[in-house]
Symmetry: D2
Subunit: 130 residues, 4 copies
């Protein structure tokens, strides 16, 4: 998040929206947001969305995700929406959508699905969890 | 690539290996490589692998990719292997694997599959291509 | 479709709903719809949804799809919803959702994303298209 | 398996190969194996591969899978190879590959990745497990 420069725009139970402002560091040679930045912000939004549904101090790890890049990542900022489709004790599944937003338009940049696993507090990554 | 700090370790027809050295900027709070950095280096390795098979000045765009995060991204550097599984005039499919490498061990950090589309020279992103 | 025993429940521009009635042939040993039947009906719904947006006699081929199996496939029938998220001249991306429906409940059985490629009339499969 | 008509060709620790002979029931209108049949046999091969690594009477459920359809499903039979890439106490990840085999050639029909979850003996589907 710090490295990317993303910020939280909205938090609700099961849904989190992040914003990643346009900066030269997260763009590729054509001046668009890089696919890596798009993926990172989408993955993070989904992880936060899952996290909103945990009562205790569990943490959450991405098991896998799939992302279709629909349009070039243009705009003043990327808006990444993570939404829990199926909560669970062990696994949570989120839908991921990223939009490129500018004053006059809103373009669907990416859509995907993500599987997350709940890890015990102080767990140390996917290996520990699985 | 510049933002990530990755470098090319190996190029062959249909296969490219990238290295991403450990740096605080690409790690998360546990001290592991961030999933976003892992994804970005995997996606880039696959794109380069597809590119090695094009004779002309075509460029290549990621249509979609799917990545399973198998183990925490630990080590001195990440090694991302992009390998063309199915070349094609329009679409190319790559297998993606990322390893966490240190002096004494080599851990499988991620595996996945990626679909790429060949774009005309000077094409400007997925929208133009699709 | 014939082999599966699915039928069309609804067709609109960019969205198709299929129904697959419960039959012993499409269930596994626990008495649930088999994952293979769930995948087949989801994939077909997405293909039909893409097809509704083509003016000419193009056909459509699945490039790839990803499906998360959220709940056991229970109910009187499966309802598969294919919805175009991003239409394109070459590639179309659909969201896929499958529900298990009975008189008193509706369970989310699967969610996923699919990439399709438009093929020339009389094209003969993915190899010809790519 | 019964409905599909697939048979086990090879079992080893962490790898299972299934064969699905060509039959009119598993083909589509062009005379190729249907994507649904390809998916079902791939998914089953991965599930069996994971199962070979369990000492006890655990069963296994598919969490999600992603499949790229590389070439039309032609040949005398489909050969589906499920191979465990990452075993785990809770989650297992498999690589899936399907080949179309005839006397004189062997075509790569599909490649993908699958995530499976170990379920307690007598567990009844993904809902119980997650």
């Amino acid at each position: 998040m710090n490295h990317l420069g993303a910020e939280i725009a909205e938090i609700a139970a099961g849904q989190v929206i992040l914003r990643l402002p346009f900066r030269p560091e997260v763009t590729q040679h054509h001046g668009y947001f890089h696919a890596g930045a798009t993926s990172a912000v989408a993955d993070t939004a989904g992880g936060f969305a899952a996290y909103t549904l945990f009562a205790d101090e569990s943490s959450v790890l991405t098991v896998e995700f799939k992302l279709n890049l629909l349009n070039p990542g243009q705009g003043d900022y990327l808006e990444a929406v993570g939404r829990v489709v199926k909560p669970g004790r062990t696994l949570t599944v989120c839908q991921l959508d990223v939009w490129g937003v500018s004053a006059d338009r809103r373009v669907h940049v990416a859509t995907g699905v993500q599987t997350l696993i709940r890890a015990k507090p102080h767990g140390q990554g996917a290996a520990a969890a699985s």
